[in-house]
Symmetry: C3
Subunit: 339 residues, 3 copies
Amino acid sequence: MKASTLTLEEIAQRIGAEVHGDSACLIHGLATLQEARAGELSFLANPNYARFLAGTQASAVIVSPAQLADCRCSALVMKNPYVGYARASRLFDPLKPAASGVDARAIVDQTAKLAEGVSVAAGAVIGAGVEIGANTRVGPGCIVGDDVRIGADCLLHGRVTVYHQVTIADRVIVHSGAVLGADGFGFAPEAGRFEKIAQLGSVVIESDVEIGANTTIDRAALGNTVIREGVKLDNQIQIAHNVVIGANTVIAACTGVSGSTTVGANCMIGGGVGIAGHLNIADGVHLTGMTLVTHDLTKPGVYSSGTAVEENRSWRKNVARFRQLDQWIRRLQSLEKRS
Amino acid sequence: MKASTLTLEEIAQRIGAEVHGDSACLIHGLATLQEARAGELSFLANPNYARFLAGTQASAVIVSPAQLADCRCSALVMKNPYVGYARASRLFDPLKPAASGVDARAIVDQTAKLAEGVSVAAGAVIGAGVEIGANTRVGPGCIVGDDVRIGADCLLHGRVTVYHQVTIADRVIVHSGAVLGADGFGFAPEAGRFEKIAQLGSVVIESDVEIGANTTIDRAALGNTVIREGVKLDNQIQIAHNVVIGANTVIAACTGVSGSTTVGANCMIGGGVGIAGHLNIADGVHLTGMTLVTHDLTKPGVYSSGTAVEENRSWRKNVARFRQLDQWIRRLQSLEKRS
Amino acid sequence: MKASTLTLEEIAQRIGAEVHGDSACLIHGLATLQEARAGELSFLANPNYARFLAGTQASAVIVSPAQLADCRCSALVMKNPYVGYARASRLFDPLKPAASGVDARAIVDQTAKLAEGVSVAAGAVIGAGVEIGANTRVGPGCIVGDDVRIGADCLLHGRVTVYHQVTIADRVIVHSGAVLGADGFGFAPEAGRFEKIAQLGSVVIESDVEIGANTTIDRAALGNTVIREGVKLDNQIQIAHNVVIGANTVIAACTGVSGSTTVGANCMIGGGVGIAGHLNIADGVHLTGMTLVTHDLTKPGVYSSGTAVEENRSWRKNVARFRQLDQWIRRLQSLEKRS
């Protein structure tokens, strides 16, 4: 909920910072150092922006102890100002809280069990045998299939689909257009055609996961596709059947993970990455944007593939050479032998 | 519908296998060789898993005749155990059948014609002049535009959009979030701006096609975008206007096919592939993941592009060299002339 | 609306062309030169199709003055026949106009203000404080969050989500499944976990923008994500928080633009492109399909990355060589020194 205003002291208590300056100062919003005006709070987390600190018009700035000396307005001092900004941002979220309870125009099966404080918006459809934990909000137009379990304090924005039997733990946020539990892509070839393999498994989303808009997570052929606690998935990501994504891994938009691959914990996967099926990616792997991974990565570290952007005219020449690269290297080798 | 239980004999008849062992044995589900327990059926389709056959706790296993000797439990014997697994999986699908008929909270135009056994779920919107064939199920929140034709025995999961005039044949499955028949991306440049070209054509989906979650298939500028029979499209695929995808071609997730391209029959297109517009791709082409296709492929075979994943430190050096590759090759050539 | 029929003279007036031949000729639709039949209008915009002009069965063709001599049927003559085709296509659009007014099964908050001629279809949900301009159509199943502003003459196809506070100007078209204003992907790392940064900003869509099916545009962390006037976005595009896309830039499907990047005006971005975060892309940049951009592009021009499709057998060899490219170049350099 967007707070109308909070004092600096109230913010300090909620984010775990120490006030320097006017603790009664009223704050009504956040802004960058360059754009903040009186009544707004700013923050200095990236040293590249330190040059804007002295001149900011903000009423207060979240800074580290080392930066306090350069701050000419009130300050909220804490070790990690970026975390302070994250916490303060949540105090000023403009998203209004849903009205509690089930909207008269929602369609909730009579066998569904909704805990205290659950809200279900107009046009949402809740199936048979569904259980939803306390204070979870289900947005307009969401479809929650039969026998789904959703924990407490979750937020499903409007127009999310959760197929039958999917399990979602606590404090999970799912953005609009996401589809959890559609059929994995499984077919048995037979005489040039394909017989569908029913996807008998499901999807398990652990606690504190966030799932971006239009992201898809397929149900398992057998067993479960699993998204472990604290994972953050950006928009338009595809997670295939039987994939496991390890705890606190972060994946940027437009990335696809193919079937039965296990991604470790604490990985950072860039945007537009493709990971082939049946692979193991170790904990702590970083993949730069648009990398294609076709074999196991057994050690933490930063990995990449592809080539770098250049002018099309030179690129065309280089690409033509690449297609004969093996031959050119052989010619280099024979030159070496001769010289 | 999830069967409560079937005897091994009943399963054998439905999948076309021969029982060895206890034909009255009751089966209530499927599992892998390693995870199956008593009462479950397993299968051996991939030789890599043959080592798990002897020790499985499954009550029965689908095996080929050659593997029968190594099976210590009951067996369902057939030539292609993977097809057997596909067929058996469908007997245990946990997706409940929709209640037949039109839900009172669906919105169906009075001019729509629904054949016998059609179900339309709550919150679905069916436009004027729509015709839907026998036993087709339209999920909650689906939008079916005016004059759409859908055949028999189709399944539209929740929250699918079918724009006006699109045609869908029989036994087509469409997953949540898919959009069939949105406008193709066509504009005429004029003085630095773009005039919209209305997309007067439509989309034709032939029989036995499956379309994944959040996949988009655009309507044609003129004529039709066509998905031929038996095609299987994974999630998050983009099919542009006037594309034709040949029969029984399979496309993995996150792939895009640009306008007016024709993809042949029996192709296997990996994930994250991009195919430029106005191309012809022959029958039987396989494209590995994230390949970019910018010219016709006139022969069947396996094709690729891109580079392989490696440590970022070495990749940075190699990429820098790639940008001067043409110059290096020229230097190699002049060395060759000199030596 | 699909006109039943128009005379050639009426079409000429509406598209700004001059009639040669039978101005009373009745036209009921458009088709290509090869496929057109009597009663249909065609066009010659691409010189590659000039060979079909003489033999077309169309009743009339839109041609440039230079091509008129080769036209054996009636003609609509104008300087840019492709623009003529665009304009004529819109006269024959088969999409029926929405019934004006709010459908009884739409859910519109009582504080929403709808201007004259606004239509809201069944199952749409309009939040508190929303304002919608004259003649804008909101399709079935759309979700429009609190305090959204939408201008006049817009078309939101079915099942579009617009999060709270997003602003959309006039004549904007949004296709099904698009999500405008979901949270940007922002987290502050803290002890191996991630704290959510509430996205306090919004999205601003200027006039004459078109947004494709299942495209996502995230709200800003602070400030706005901005899509400037005349921008055309294809399907399945991801625009991250705080991105700015310059006027009349066109982006093809499956492309992703990372956070805080500014793309200039009049750019043409191919499909499957990835642009890293915090970059500046100049006006007039063209990026070919699947290019990865990791640094600023300060000059207009055509840019590319990646390698070209080839047979997998040769590709495997070349890719293996690429991984040692830096070493091979060093060996080439030492050969040069020696010779």
